[in-house]
Structures are given as structure tokens and as C-alpha cells.
């Protein structure tokens, strides 16, 4: 394990009990994500993409094995510690944006900052910067229902980066968008990766989305099928 590793998964397994049957999704999965990677994970439905993303994001925990993040083991943390870890290290971007419908753009972006000790003035500064970065400074006071899908996803991106996390996790970020808008969003992610050094993990089933990534992994039945991309 070296300093440039952000994530190390060692022998990770994940099993569900569904009815009487035990379903195994992963069995002894190893994986490394380096700092500065823009990793696309592809695969058919049921391949375990989302479960993997959830484990990386700390909303789900493996049944066995170890998950190391930036030199610290995180798979045994309590729910509360996990929440703090997520707040400090991860930005999430969802397929359906998941903005709070009753809050305007600026307040949606500000939401993760409520988990920090920043003053109101500092928060305002960060929010403005994040909205400017995604090109929506003029939409700050709009409610989600007053925006297009692309705009909502850009607000979601601003929300994901506002507290300056190391890692962005994107779950089908363009799944609900048309081609042009999707490209805009992906270019923005690429920019965040290249210019701002964010590590990005993106689950997608869209091959043209994967092109924006620096690496692509293909998952099938809990296994990476193109080993050449695994370190």
C-alpha cells in the first residue's frame, strides 16, 4: 500500500440473505483506486456496480474483507462514524439529482456545509464559488422545480464539491439526461478531475460516458473482467 492509493479493497465479500437463499455478490474482490483517478465502472444490471459504489461510499459495509481509505480502515466503523467520514471525504452525485425540493439551489448546495464548523459567511463564500464553478451563479435562488435536468445535476455537482471532498461518487449521473446535456455534465466531471484533482468513481452503463474516464472497469457477476485495468 502506498501513499498514492486512495482506496484499497482486500478480499472483500458481500452476501445477502434473500428469503431462504444466500446470494453472494462479491467473493474475495481486490481493488485499488489511486488518487487522481477518474474511474468508470460498467456492467450489466445485477453485476454489483451499485453495491460496490455503496461500499466505497460507506453507506454499505462488506460481509468480509477489508476496506482501506487513505491509509485508514473504514469497514468496521459505526454508523455515526461512517456518517462523519462520508461528510468529510465524499461527494455524492445521483442519477435523479436528489435535491431537496423545498430548498433553492444555493441552500441545496449549502446543505453539506451544515455538517462543518464553517461560519455563515464562510459557507456563503463556498456556496457562491461552487455555483460559479458549475456555471449557475445566476440561478442561486431558483427552486429545483424551476430548473432543467441538466441544471439540477449541476446543482448536485456543486453540492458534491462544496465541502471539498477527496472523492466524488457518481451513480449513473447522466442516466436521466439527453446526450448534449450529458456531455456537458461529463465534461464538468472531467474538469474537476483534471484541474481540481478530484478522484472520481462513476457507475454507468453508457459506453460514451465511460470515455471521459481515465480508466474503465467492467464488472460481471462480482468479478472484474478486464484485468489489465486493475492495478
Amino acid at each position: 500500500m502506498t501513499d498514492d492509493h486512495l482506496f484499497d479493497l482486500k478480499g472483500v465479500s458481500k452476501r445477502f440473505i434473500k428469503g431462504k437463499e444466500a446470494i453472494s455478490i462479491f467473493d474475495g474482490l481486490d481493488m485499488t483506486i489511486k488518487k487522481g483517478d477518474f474511474l468508470a465502472i460498467m456492467g450489466p444490471s445485477g453485476s454489483g456496480k451499485t453495491t460496490l459504489l455503496n461500499m466505497l461510499g460507506g453507506v454499505d459495509q462488506p460481509t468480509g474483507g477489508e476496506v482501506w481509505f487513505d491509509g485508514k480502515r473504514i469497514d468496521k466503523l459505526s454508523e455515526g462514524q461512517m456518517a462523519n467520514w462520508r461528510a468529510g471525504n465524499i461527494g455524492f452525485i445521483f442519477q435523479f439529482y436528489n435535491l431537496m425540493p423545498m430548498l433553492n439551489a444555493a441552500r441545496n448546495v449549502e446543505l453539506p456545509l451544515l455538517l462543518t464548523n464553517l461560519s455563515a459567511a464562510q459557507r456563503k463564500k463556498s456556496v457562491t464559488a461552487a455555483l460559479e464553478l458549475v456555471g449557475l451563479a445566476d440561478r442561486a435562488s431558483h427552486l429545483p422545480k424551476e430548473m432543467s435536468g441538466g441544471q439540477m445535476q449541476r446543482v448536485a455537482i456543486a453540492r458534491a464539491i462544496v465541502s471539498d471532498p477527496k472523492l466524488l461518487l457518481c451513480d449513473e449521473p447522466t442516466g436521466d439526461l439527453d446526450r448534449n446535456t450529458a456531455d456537458e455534465i461529463l465534461e464538468m466531471l472531467q474538469l474537476l478531475n483534471k484541474e481540481f484533482g478530484k478522484t472520481i468513481v462513476m457507475v454507468t452503463h453508457d459506453p460514451s460516458a465511460a470515455k471521459y474516464a481515465t480508466h474503465t472497469l467492467h464488472l460481471d457477476k462480482g468479478q472484474f473482467v478486464e484485468k489489465d485495468l486493475v492495478a
Binding site: N54, G57, V59, D60, E79, G80, A83, N84, W85, R86, A87, G88, I90, F92, F94, F96, N98, M100, P101, M102, L103, R107, E110, L111, P112, L114, L115, R123, R159
Partner: protein, 384 residues
């Protein structure tokens, strides 16, 4: 932005639903405030009764008479500071269906025993001097528009004068106030002497005695002495503390307290069910949002508190409005219907209501809050 802002936005995001649940809460607390004020007024005869006052009535029943000679006999009893006689007059002013609470009394000793009747020294002087004078409580005076100096005829549906007339002529010498705002001033007093000398039957009999003891600790002893003194006479007595007498009197009507409590209970029950349900529903609709906030790193406890705050705010807002309406309503009733005992929104009612609001907020919010606490992010998302 603060958590409070998010709670507020959540509360107000569906204005129609907010209005309906607020309205239901408002109704519950309007009923609660008004009925409780009524109950307090109803009980005030018991709660405001002085500890050092006793009432002596005929043992058969308090409607049976006692000889007037008992007054002086009781006055001599050790521990009796003052004693006065009272006689129910059955009076009415113009409308025989509207009874006055009107008593024939011995003015000087009456004022000594019943200090909740507050007159100016001038009024007091005038009344004691005037054989045909009466004093009326503020509430009665307001009902009939009486002023000091008015000459009024009052009829009795029990007594008549020796010459056959059923109307007595009076001069209003004073309009008394109550010692406290709760004191019921819905009564009228006039001189026993005038009554005794003019009535056609029942001369030298009185209704009951009011006694003030020198010390409440002596009550037991005075009660025993008085009742023993008249045992085995044709007019046996029963002496009880004023509190007991008043309580017994209102209990004759039936278990009003039970009726009122049931109504308030029913109102609260309805509202609890309605508000509780819409809270559960509102939070269930927000399952996805709660899961997102958890994903962003919000602690479960914080979300739990936010939801409870929401239901608390709802209860406090609706309850506060309801209590204000009840205050207005009681004020309206008291000013427009002087024949009712004064309804007051006391501190204890307000405090109790606040307690009920918090309890309601807790009860209606606890289920959705626990649901949010337990919400599993992954199952929440897969349900979406």
C-alpha cells in the same frame, strides 16, 4: 441556513396540509382552553372558599329553615370570630324565569364573615343605614344595567309581603367588586330586618349560618360544639367547612367534571389521530430525501431531532393559536354574559396547555422520527 430553516421549509412545503393539520390542532386547543377555563370557574366556589369559614345548615337538608335565635347562640361559641345569617330570597327582577342569587343578610356581620364582597366605605355606610337598601355584585349590575341610587322592585317566587304584594322595593346602595378576578359577583344582598318584618310567613326563621373562625385549626372543634349544642332539638344542625358545602352543592348537578373531561379527551383524541397520521404520511413521502441527507453525512440523531421539532412546531403553532382563540372566547363570554361566573385564562391553564402541546408534538412526531432514525439508506434508495 440552519437546521431550523430546513424544519420550517419542510413544515410549510404543503400549505394545504399544513393548514388542515394546524386547523385541527387549533380546534382541539380552543375546546381545551375554553372548557378548562369553564371548569376552573366552576370549581372556583370550592377553590376560592376560605379555610376559616364554615356553613351551618339544617341537618335534614339545607333548604329547611333554622331559628334566628341560633345566630347569637353560635356567636358565643369559643373559636367563632364572626357569624351571620343568610336567607335565600328566591328573587327575580322582571323575568320570573331568571332567578337572582339573592340573600337576606345581617349587613354588618355579613361583611365581617364574607370579605370577598368589596364595597367602598361610603357604600358600606350607606347600605347599613338604609333599611330598604341592597348591594349588587358587578356582574348582576351589568346584566340589568343597575346603578347606585336606582330604585328597583324585586319579586320573590317564595315569599310575599304581609299585604299580599310579591314585590319588594329596594334602593341600590352599592355595587360590590370581588376580592379576586375569579370571585363570582353574580349575587345580591339586602337586609334581613326588612325581609323579616315584611314577609307574610316564616318570621324569625333563617336559611343558614355563615361562620368565620378565629383559626382554621379550630374548625373541627367549632363544628362539634355547634352541632352538639343543637342536637336533639327540633332543628338539628350540620356544620361543614365552606369548601365542603360548596363542593356538595355543585355535585348535586352531577358529575360535570367527568362530562367536561370526556369532551376534552375526545377532542384531543381526534386531533392526535389526524395530526399523527398526516405526520407519518408527510415523513413517509420524504423517505428519499431523508436517505439523501443520511448519505451526505447527516447523523440519524440529528434527523430524528429535526422531525420531532417539526411536529413540535406544528403542535405549538396550532395550540398557541387555539389557546389565543380560547382566551378571546372566554373574554367574550365573560363580558357578554355576566350571569356566567368569570372565565379566566389562568397561568396554570396556559402552562397545562403548553404541556399538552409538547406531549402532542412528541406523540405525533415520535413514530416518523423513529422511522427516520432507523431508515436504511440502501433499502430507502432501492424502494425509490
Amino acid at each position: 441556513m440552519t437546521d431550523f430553516y430546513i424544519v420550517w421549509k419542510n413544515l410549510t412545503r404543503k400549505p394545504l396540509r399544513l393548514f388542515l393539520t394546524l386547523f385541527a390542532t387549533f380546534i382541539a386547543f380552543t375546546i381545551y382552553g375554553t372548557i378548562t377555563a369553564f371548569q376552573v370557574a366552576w370549581d372556583s366556589g370550592v377553590n376560592l372558599a376560605a379555610d376559616d369559614r364554615l356553613v351551618t345548615v339544617n341537618k335534614i337538608n339545607f333548604t329547611q329553615p333554622l331559628p334566628v335565635s341560633y345566630v347569637n347562640k353560635v356567636r358565643a361559641v369559643k373559636g367563632v370570630a364572626a357569624v351571620t345569617q343568610m336567607n335565600w330570597f328566591g328573587g327575580y327582577f322582571q323575568d320570573p324565569r331568571k332567578q337572582l342569587v339573592m340573600m337576606a343578610v345581617d349587613a354588618p356581620s355579613f361583611l365581617e364573615v364574607y370579605d370577598q364582597v368589596v364595597l367602598t366605605p361610603k357604600e358600606q355606610e350607606a347600605w347599613i343605614q338604609d333599611r330598604q337598601g341592597l348591594i349588587a355584585g358587578e356582574a348582576v349590575a351589568r346584566t340589568y344595567g343597575w346603578k347606585v341610587g336606582d330604585h328597583i322592585p324585586v319579586n320573590s317566587n317564595i315569599f310575599s309581603q304581609k299585604d299580599g304584594r310579591t314585590a319588594w322595593d329596594f334602593t341600590i346602595d352599592g355595587i360590590f367588586k370581588g376580592k379576586t378576578p375569579q370571585t363570582d359577583t353574580n349575587s345580591v344582598y339586602f337586609h334581613y330586618k326588612y325581609f323579616n318584618e315584611t314577609k307574610s310567613f316564616g318570621k324569625d326563621y333563617i336559611g343558614f349560618l355563615g361562620i368565620r373562625t378565629t383559626d382554621p385549626k379550630l374548625n373541627e372543634q367549632v363544628i362539634k360544639t355547634v352541632d352538639d349544642m343543637f342536637a336533639n332539638t327540633p332543628f338539628e344542625t350540620q356544620t361543614v367547612p365552606e369548601k365542603v358545602f360548596n363542593k356538595g352543592f355543585i355535585e348535586q348537578i352531577g358529575n360535570i367534571r367527568l362530562i367536561l373531561t370526556s369532551v376534552v379527551g375526545a377532542a384531543f383524541f381526534i386531533i392526535l389521530v389526524i395530526v399523527g397520521n398526516s405526520m407519518v404520511l408527510a415523513i413517509r413521502e420524504r423517505t428519499g430525501e431523508i436517505a439523501v441527507m443520511k448519505t451526505l453525512g447527516f447523523q440519524s440523531g440529528r434527523l430524528f431531532r429535526m422531525i420531532l421539532s417539526e411536529s413540535m412546531m406544528l403542535a405549538l403553532l396550532g395550540g398557541g393559536l387555539g389557546l389565543s382563540a380560547a382566551t378571546g372566547l372566554t373574554w367574550l363570554i365573560t363580558s357578554k354574559m355576566p350571569q356566567m361566573p368569570p372565565l379566566l385564562m389562568t397561568h396554570s391553564i396556559v402552562l397545562q396547555s403548553l404541556g399538552f402541546m409538547l406531549a402532542m408534538g412528541l406523540l405525533t412526531g415520535i413514530i416518523p422520527a423513529v422511522n427516520a432514525l432507523r431508515l436504511n439508506i440502501i433499502t430507502a434508495f432501492s424502494r425509490q
